[in-house]
Symmetry: C2
Subunit: 579 residues, 2 copies
Amino acid sequence: MTVSEYIFDFLHSKGCDTVYMVSGSSSMWLTDALCRNHDMKAVCCHHEQAAAMAADCYGRLNPAPGVCLATIGPGATNTITGVAGAYLDSSPVFVLTGQANSRLVQYQKATGIRQHGTQSLLLDNMVSPITKYFCCLENAQDIVQVMNDAYQAAMSGRKGPVWIDIPIDLQNKQITVSDGVPDGQSAPFDVVPPSAQMMQQLLDAKRPLILAGAGVRNGQAIDLLRQLSDRFDIPVVTSRGGIDVIPSNAPNFIGRPGSYGDRASHFSIQQCDFLLILGSRLSVSTTGYYPQRFGLHAYKVMVDIDQKELDKPDVPVDEAVCCDVSAYLTEVLNQLPSSPPAAWGQWRDHCVALRNQYPTVLPHYSHETPLNSYYFVHLLSTLAPNNANIVVDTGSVCNIVSQSWELKEGQRYLISGGLSAMGFWAGILGCAQLGRQLIALSGDGSVQMNVQEFATIHYNHLPVKLFVFQNHGYMLIRHNQHNYMNDRFLGVGPDSGLETPNFCKVAEAYGIKSCTISAGDDLSSKIREVLACNEAVVCQVEVQIFGDLAPRIASRVMPDGSLKAAEFDDLYPFLNQDE
Amino acid sequence: MTVSEYIFDFLHSKGCDTVYMVSGSSSMWLTDALCRNHDMKAVCCHHEQAAAMAADCYGRLNPAPGVCLATIGPGATNTITGVAGAYLDSSPVFVLTGQANSRLVQYQKATGIRQHGTQSLLLDNMVSPITKYFCCLENAQDIVQVMNDAYQAAMSGRKGPVWIDIPIDLQNKQITVSDGVPDGQSAPFDVVPPSAQMMQQLLDAKRPLILAGAGVRNGQAIDLLRQLSDRFDIPVVTSRGGIDVIPSNAPNFIGRPGSYGDRASHFSIQQCDFLLILGSRLSVSTTGYYPQRFGLHAYKVMVDIDQKELDKPDVPVDEAVCCDVSAYLTEVLNQLPSSPPAAWGQWRDHCVALRNQYPTVLPHYSHETPLNSYYFVHLLSTLAPNNANIVVDTGSVCNIVSQSWELKEGQRYLISGGLSAMGFWAGILGCAQLGRQLIALSGDGSVQMNVQEFATIHYNHLPVKLFVFQNHGYMLIRHNQHNYMNDRFLGVGPDSGLETPNFCKVAEAYGIKSCTISAGDDLSSKIREVLACNEAVVCQVEVQIFGDLAPRIASRVMPDGSLKAAEFDDLYPFLNQDE
């Protein structure tokens, strides 16, 4: 068995069935081993950036890691944005790259010469900051241990990408695999039971609230969260990473707090007296700009698998518990009485009333011309099926969709959370699963960043429904330059140096069906038609070029040139003092 | 004056007049300062990869560094491939990126947390391997020194990119600039005169040869090289990086050696008895796979500005001189007699005869159907004007064009040399210069890697003539899989998972004129028409899908799975022993 053969056999044994790749000379034995491995499917992308994003999404949707195969040098560096995104969003991905001859790699490492092998770059320093494990293989036989170690790293604790760089002279070397592929299991984690104080505080609380993040996707945590919420009338808000841990129609779901959030969840957080933070790292985009006052009146318990997130001083939590959310919730449920304290139901009703009082999508949005993006997204979400994998790109689209998408039971909702990389829509390439609908939403600026992948969609007959919000540039940056730069615009639209194409025409050039949706159309029937199509459709949505983004935490420029943000529960557009 | 204002004032004072950028929130004060600086032009690209490649090309063509402005996180990582290319090809580039608040950066650095600031990645480790200087600004006032140090690094010795990462809280801070912008000069270099032994060996030689590389572009070296060659009948061969240091019709120009080279230059190198290697790092793609036998019979003097390249043990040179080529040649010319030794003219004639005997573009190529790429390139090169900036993309196209382009006096010829990054054609965005024609050549696979830049070309009315060799995939990798994998193809064309679009249609979708050229057309008149057009044209050239690449150093797979290459002067297709 060769090194390359072993790699794909190993990955297949772990449940991987697809590799997202761009071929190249310096990865030729890897490519050939993949070609000869009939258990693994190759999806050939047109840029390694998209291949890495596809592998990221695959890693989030499946029990096995995503796999990205690229060649030396530029092939490797082209994946970096995608890999960084997977790292920040805790997605397990194997990156496999070809490398120059070992001898040349060693020389370059020893001397610091700019380059020795053709196309070669040394990757260790470059990619270690964005991976959980990196190895440039030095001996063929090591691959057995390396794959095992890499797998452990990718799948254990807080998940993330790993990277194996394989010199060309080792790719086709024979190795001895005495015991077959080792059956490496991800390392077990310590279970930390809830403290007596935590349980006491919870039971004494009148207004408990759960903030659920991406960490709730591990193990059985989603089911346990629902049990906890449903049985004990505890309202739930979700961070961006946790949007798909609870459907929008769950009786206790209140909203999605953040810089672009909603009033109900912000009021709930500031009014609650117990806040259970599950698998959310409390990023600024969740907590706003005054984290020390986030959930100010609550006893705060934060449960996370990553100790470094717990050590972060921003939000002063009362208990920081390093534990898998699933294991922790099991213990909490075991220790709770059979029914909730009387006050909890009343509080839950109050939060639900807030939700009903302050919808994100306002009634008058439906009448606006051009089309209001919030209204369109809301409508699309009511028509999208339960079995949909939804990928949402970065920029204003991410804010709008995350604020207004009514998530149905069974839907998966993927964004580029920590990195917020434009072009993330192409992650939909990694979302193909039997019987599931593929929906991507992006802005025209972001579509451009991976537009070459229209070819991949077409060739592979992926029935992707890509909704492109045609707002003629980078709308979020336009808002930014409007708010802080007195309307000095640069690089945000046709008025300032940047023009995006008509994506219907681009789609047609790539052989993909397209259509346009504008205000005045019978929106529901057009959306239904797109969703019902059994092939790919690029649907250009003619939305407002400079539509308002609301509610949001607004900032203004101070005399010294710095920015000052509003309070967490004082969202723009500002309410009267009474409200 | 703010930090951001200072940065662009400084760059303008150094001669920079254009910034290649993608806008973003975390670089907003930088963007705004650029917007308000009326001496600097912004070219807004649609992917930072292209912006970096444009800045790379700008840095090669102008006396000032290229400038690339990007935002935090994904904006920064998207530039990496382009920056790595500039590093390997010694192009001075300033990369400016927005970064999270300093406090968050410091915390992330101290703790190793995956991320603290929104979208933030710590760049130090990631980009230090591909830059000459990196600084994440810590104090606003430091920017004066930082810009100066960065400029010195970019422009001194072996040039290369520098990177300044500027936290959002510092971008708009006021600084005191007491003495205006400092007038930093690039550091002087030591002049090493030719050794007595070198001069003796040269004068005793019967068959001297010059191998000229990219280092000959510095200072007056091009003129001095021509003087040396013309006055003393010394034949010249060029590496890929040095293609445009001598026109193809120069009386003593012989050819371009390399893995994809030509017989005349290879024979000359193996027959010469004195080899003066000027500003070429002797990469494997120049020397072939047995560097210890490269110029085996010659006394070899290697002159380079980078000591690390001189220390490389591959080609055993007799003298390794760390010196600017221009300074060295001045001394050599001073020490030479007024006329060459008698034997030199005869040797030069022999080399020229070799050149005439073994042309790269064979007569029968002109009759082939579909179109032979070598023939097409040769024809195009005879019709291209002297005042052309030519950017050639990676892959088979780079080999074909570099083997067959007849370079005219005045033309600039830019490739992605060390990195060989696909998508490099978009570097043409950085080549706009008054009165010069913009010609880019690329393969269909490589065009895809930056196809979003069609929008930049269209919006900016850049009259780029992009010739796309439509060979339906990655032809170089197809050859590779044919030669070494017994025709097991993966990811190289429509037969194996990868299909590129019709670029005429894509161009039209982006509002760019297009045309197709195929065998049977009146090629010359079609090419003339494209070149005469005063706006951009994408010209799809319907070439052979699997055309031969020749001459080249062929390799074959050995029984143990390794590759064995042929000798440097035994090019495929192999000649008879007599020849």
